[in-house]
Symmetry: D2
Subunit: 141 residues, 4 copies
């Protein structure tokens, strides 16, 4: 039994957000809201830049936020950055979101030696309703 790693502060994760990701991903303006033993929650601010016709949050931004949140959840899980790459990401779009920020919560379900599995939920920040789910697989290096 190994000692569980020290949790990673939201500030450290916010810094990782600014260093590890492509500028285009940073243009989502994700903010780390919370990190604890359960996972990591990011806020995706409402923006015309991310809205398609009709004012709804585009699905492309949901998937991008999900993948990004899971990388941070893995850092949080391991107590530090570990090189990893996304192997698979399955997204379900349950309903549209408009007129509010989104909260993106990523949870590590299992992290073994070579692979990690996780789940992401995206919900309206105001009404709390879940609109998007993703499940992911990462290869750990």
């Amino acid at each position: 039994m190994t000692t569980p790693p020290t949790p990673v502060s939201p500030e450290t994760l916010q810094q990782a957000l600014g260093e590890l990701f492509a500028p285009w991903v940073q243009a989502l303006h994700l903010r780390v809201e919370r990190s604890d033993a359960d996972g990591v929650t990011l806020r995706l601010p409402q923006s015309d830049q991310l809205s398609r016709v009709g004012g709804v949050l585009c699905g492309q931004a949901m998937m991008a936020a999900a993948d990004t949140a899971m990388v941070l959840a893995l850092i949080n899980h391991f107590g530090q950055f570990r090189p990893c790459s996304t192997v698979q990401l399955s997204s379900s779009f349950m309903k549209p979101l408009s007129g509010q920020d989104a909260l993106v919560t990523a949870r590590v379900l299992r992290a073994g030696k070579a692979m990690a599995f996780g789940e992401i939920d995206l919900a309206g920040a105001d009404d709390g309703k879940s609109v998007f789910r993703a499940s992911t697989t990462y290869a750990l290096m």
Copy 2:
């Protein structure tokens, strides 16, 4: 048996790209390369904006390009824009891509009355090697 719809020109699809999608998606600078009975191919130009540490194309851009390409492939398939929404998108990241543009090819596998299914391949524009695959489900309205 219905008459197959008139194919949609690359120019018309390029125009749809500029009208239907969020500004953040348009910042991918996708260009329609080809459209025919088989599907639609977009070029995703190499860019520092889309590259994460190490100069590789970020996975978030791959997924976004895939979803976008499939919407255009559905327009091409139906001969015109039909309101639709992504229901599910499953992505497999097979290997990294760097130092070249990507070609994103979307194909409609089946389009019924209420649902459409498709597949997307993303390959290096120079070496032709497939690096990413996605399968998608859309609800037609």
Copy 3:
């Protein structure tokens, strides 16, 4: 706001198991353990018939149990059988399971007019450890 449907008893769901599914699926010998507002839990009994080399539960049985459990969760959700068909099912195999029954819990995340979304967890009945997850999309008719 509609009145929530009457919950469906485990006995009624067990009967549906015997009527709606192919004989080969019934050979899994799934038993309804629990049904409530949260979802449905089935027990998949350990069996040599379902074990591959090494005595581990075969992944094929996990996927089949997941799909079956979600159909029952939809019956439970609607208060009665509604014709539906599986559109998409994404499975993640997190670790092997051996030497024990499995508990398969299906939960409806969202059910709209035309589509329903759900999640399934499969865990060891003795150690409670989650070994498999699936997310599903159904078309409602």
Copy 4:
């Protein structure tokens, strides 16, 4: 550049079918039709055992056949059995199949040192129409 492995004969793959899989999977009565550099094709014979109400092939059998076919395609790809485990399998059910056998074709898209990716198509043996697709990820050991 390594020498490509010797292709594996249908007879050898048929024998592997009888040895590697759970008895419940063998009850699908899959038969190896073809194996070549492109992949492996299995026949799933029509059977009342696999049919649900209405005489259509149950989706559980489609997923099970897909996973099984990919394991054989990996043996074919490597020229011999290599221990591997399914990590992820995403299935799309495009339309029902009834009144005929199914042909299940599995293709390895990429096989690296640690991971392999593949795609499976299931089509009617008589009408040749594709009714089901799956994409898979395997961990190689």
